[in-house]
Symmetry: C2
Subunit: 258 residues, 2 copies
């Protein structure tokens, strides 16, 4: 049995609590600065609600800092504990953002954690890091109970993965948002594109992506690009279209992939 | 049995020839201005090679113009035929780009047709259009033999679908290209992102995409955005990052989706 205290009451706290159900990880309490949220989650999930940071149990195995990046340092500084492992969940922050604690680790799930769509971490790649071999063993043991895909990734590599995830996941979702908006305006079902986009994504993991680039920009087909631009009403989309066309045409791969 | 003449020798011609195998569509000849390519395909696929446009059979059921958008008008004008249906394959061009022919139709597969990755049209949405009901029946009969997903889409809607496909498919592939390039530089496996991106794409067809937007831009998290920008060496990617952040933050959905 692993005992853990959850600190935070946002999407990550929800996700971790849900993922720990039916494992032999016992959540012995939840604390957050948003006391009303904390009371609600504690009631919903039947967890002990900790109303003040000074009341946090000192002898848990894990202290899970499901807080905003900017709060990691101050919250971890405020914890008065007896040697348990303090864990942050940020893709971006150095492990040493946890300053005054002896035992520190990172648990970063590569997942878009949204109340509507999150299911569990079973197939989620989890990037873990710890400040000692013993602490690595502890965080690995925790992560292995939640996911089948646990990866040893240091702070620098995690930062680049966070950047790449933002570029591919968040920006692609926005491209879809903008394109769907154009189709909605004309009463056209966006679902027609699903086949194309699913194949394209699969192919980008089979082939070198720049080698399967298609479309007017890679052919420098100015007529088509102008025809497209004439259709677009959204100013930001028009600017994105122009910049993508430039970037696609100018792209040169690294020597090792060329 | 439907008889068809292929005009063109590029990726679309290859794809159509491949898709017609094992159907009761008989390709009775292939012609293209690139005579060497034509001879090679004809030999490979055991099809009659037509070396001059004046030798094209006059009595085929279908004349399939697998040519560049800019060649549709001139090639269709040059055809001397006996009433067969002339079909173009462009997402962008009006059906009336086929000018001097009485019977005209469009067959536009929503598919990235690439020699490396193309398989067949079985699950590809095919947008069809024709200038008369009788011609619609003929092109539909042809399309139904190649795909299970045939759609009646007029020229204007097809144009918007072409735009949306370019934005989502071509631009997302470029985002992946750029992100993978950053990861390659640091020796990090891009495959780690597959789970995230597959889920995100599926979710964008289940939920309203702007409602599942995550990442620093939608939170207006300036610290994270600056940290990301500091990592990016590619100038075009940096400009794209800034423009996406602006566009994500400013986006307002259509009233009917809000």
């Amino acid at each position: 049995m692993i005992t853990a205290v959850i600190i935070g009451s946002g999407n990550m706290a929800h996700a971790i609590i849900r993922a720990c159900q039916n494992t032999n990880i016992e959540i012995i309490g939840i604390y957050s600065r948003k006391i009303e949220n904390t009371i609600e989650i504690a009631k919903q999930k039947n967890i002990n609600c900790i109303e003040s940071i000074t009341n946090i149990p000192t002898d848990a195995d894990l202290y899970l800092l499901c807080v905003n990046d900017d709060a990691i340092e101050s919250v971890s500084n405020s914890l008065i504990i007896n040697g348990g492992l303090v864990v942050h969940f940020s893709g971006l922050k150095n492990i040493n953002e946890i300053k005054k604690q002896e035992n520190k680790a990172v648990f970063w799930p590569i997942e878009s954690i949204n109340k509507n769509s999150f299911v569990n971490f079973k197939n989620t790649p989890i990037c873990i890091e710890a400040n000692t071999d013993e602490n690595y063993r502890i965080i690995e043991n925790f992560a292995d109970r939640l996911s089948n895909h646990v990866l040893n990734i240091n702070t620098e590599k995690r930062l680049y993965l966070h950047l790449a995830a933002t570029i591919t996941n968040n920006f692609s979702n926005h491209l879809i948002t903008l394109a769907k908006n154009e189709l909605d305006n004309k009463g056209i079902d966006y679902g027609i594109l699903k086949h194309l986009l699913s194949n394209a994504l699969n192919n980008s993991f089979i082939f070198e992506p720049y080698k399967i680039q298609t479309g007017p920009a890679i052919r420098n087909d100015l007529n088509t690009m102008q025809k497209h631009l004439d259709l677009i009403e959204n100013q930001n989309l028009r600017a994105l279209y122009e910049l993508f066309s430039k970037s696609i045409f100018e792209f040169k791969p690294n020597k090792n992939n060329a």
